[in-house]
Symmetry: none
Subunit: 225 residues, 2 copies
DNA sequence: AATTGAATCTCGCCC
DNA sequence: GGGCGAGGTTCAATT
């Protein structure tokens, strides 16, 4: 896509007809035309949501002072009547490498590593991402009695996670230097059937409150993550 | 707010820490800084949603090549590291007069209340927002035989709406003063699986054309839409 | 101010 | 590709 992103600041009025009908009176606004033909109409304020927009796939027809953007799939139309162009520039941005979300799970693991007592009285951290032949265990701890505890951390606790932890425990308990290794299944929410399965296998379930956990961990120095 | 909207095209990397952690690798992007201090990071593609953003109230600290945007309420932070500025301009847009919407569910309900015969021959309105213990029924009507009919109105008819109406009907039919109560599921478009579910439960489906409906309803006095 | 529910939702997952 | 569920949901209307 060569055209790149075009930024137009213009006094304009906008009419949308599609799922609903909407109208924007004549006023100065930013028109963002993306390479894929989509268009956003932004005002100076409000949130991240544009006043009006058209999602791809769509085509732009520039006819004198009237731009018509038509969604080629739904037929939705955006009619923009330009009164005065205040700015017009085009910028080649290329394809964005995209957002990497260090979702809640990674951050949860981090917080629990910083304060393992949320998992059990007297718990201490051995290490994060404890390596095994079938993949790393999220957290390896010791309980108050010095017994090893493997911890699986999930945002939402489901059957899959219990199975995963079970495999780790089976493997870890074959190691005479580590055995016995207990298991803790930790998540913000644990589904009933996952809890039943876990407890049936002698795995303890711990639900943690993310915000509460954040509160307990020291925030005096910036973490940067 | 004098500063207006500032548009910066720059090679930048972005780090967000707040409810979650997220990272955008170094790449050219559009940074939209609005007068209220909020900021949007857009790529050339995707939907109307920015790659990353900060909602007001927030403050921007421009420190050489690193911009730090902090939400003054939640403490969420956006760190933008600028590698190269490709464009930088500011535009005074003023306060936007705002969007006027038409054709929402409420208006559809209004039109059907004004002319219930679109729902069935001889239908008459009992009342809008008919109260029940689990919430109001959109429209309560009587059919040509005087039988009560509960009507659920949606813009788009999906499974959820059928379930909702089913719950109402179950409740209403326990009331000996009302029972039997029939059901009509009314929408501009009804998804096939919703239609199947509804009809399987004895709920009649009616699709209505918004514009046609507007035409049948008296327009001698202005409706403001 | 808190709550509720729709949204031109968007986005990702899993089937 | 459709359904389901969550989102830094956002947004508006209502209590």
């Amino acid at each position: 896509m060569l055209p790149g992103m075009r930024l137009v600041v213009a006094r304009c009025s906008v009419d949308y007809t599609g799922r609903l009908s909407a109208h924007l009176p004549m006023a100065p606004r930013l028109l963002m035309l993306k390479a894929d033909g989509s268009i956003l109409v932004h005002a100076d304020g409000g949130s991240y949501k544009p006043l009006n927009w058209m999602t791809p796939p769509c085509t732009l027809k520039e006819d004198d002072a009237v731009w018509t953007v038509t969604n080629t799939k739904s037929g939705d139309q955006l009619r923009i009547t330009i009164d005065e162009v205040l700015h017009d520039s085009t910028h080649e941005l290329g394809v964005d490498p995209g957002l990497r979300k260090d979702g809640v799970e990674a951050h949860l693991q981090e917080l629990l590593a910083a304060d393992p007592t949320a998992l059990g009285e007297g718990y201490t951290l051995v290490r994060r991402e404890f390596p095994t032949a079938i993949g790393p265990v999220d957290l390896m701890c010791r309980n108050a009695d010095g017994v090893s505890v493997a911890i699986e951390v999930k945002r939402r606790g489901e059957i899959d996670g219990v199975e995963q932890l079970t495999r780790y425990l089976e493997l870890l308990n074959r190691d005479p230097l580590l055995a016995p290794v207990q298991g803790v299944f930790c998540a913000q929410q644990i589904k009933p059937q996952a809890r039943v399965l876990a407890e049936d296998r002698g795995i303890r379930c711990v639900t943690v409150d993310y915000d509460a956990l954040r509160g307990t961990v020291d925030h005096t120095q910036p973490t940067l993550f």
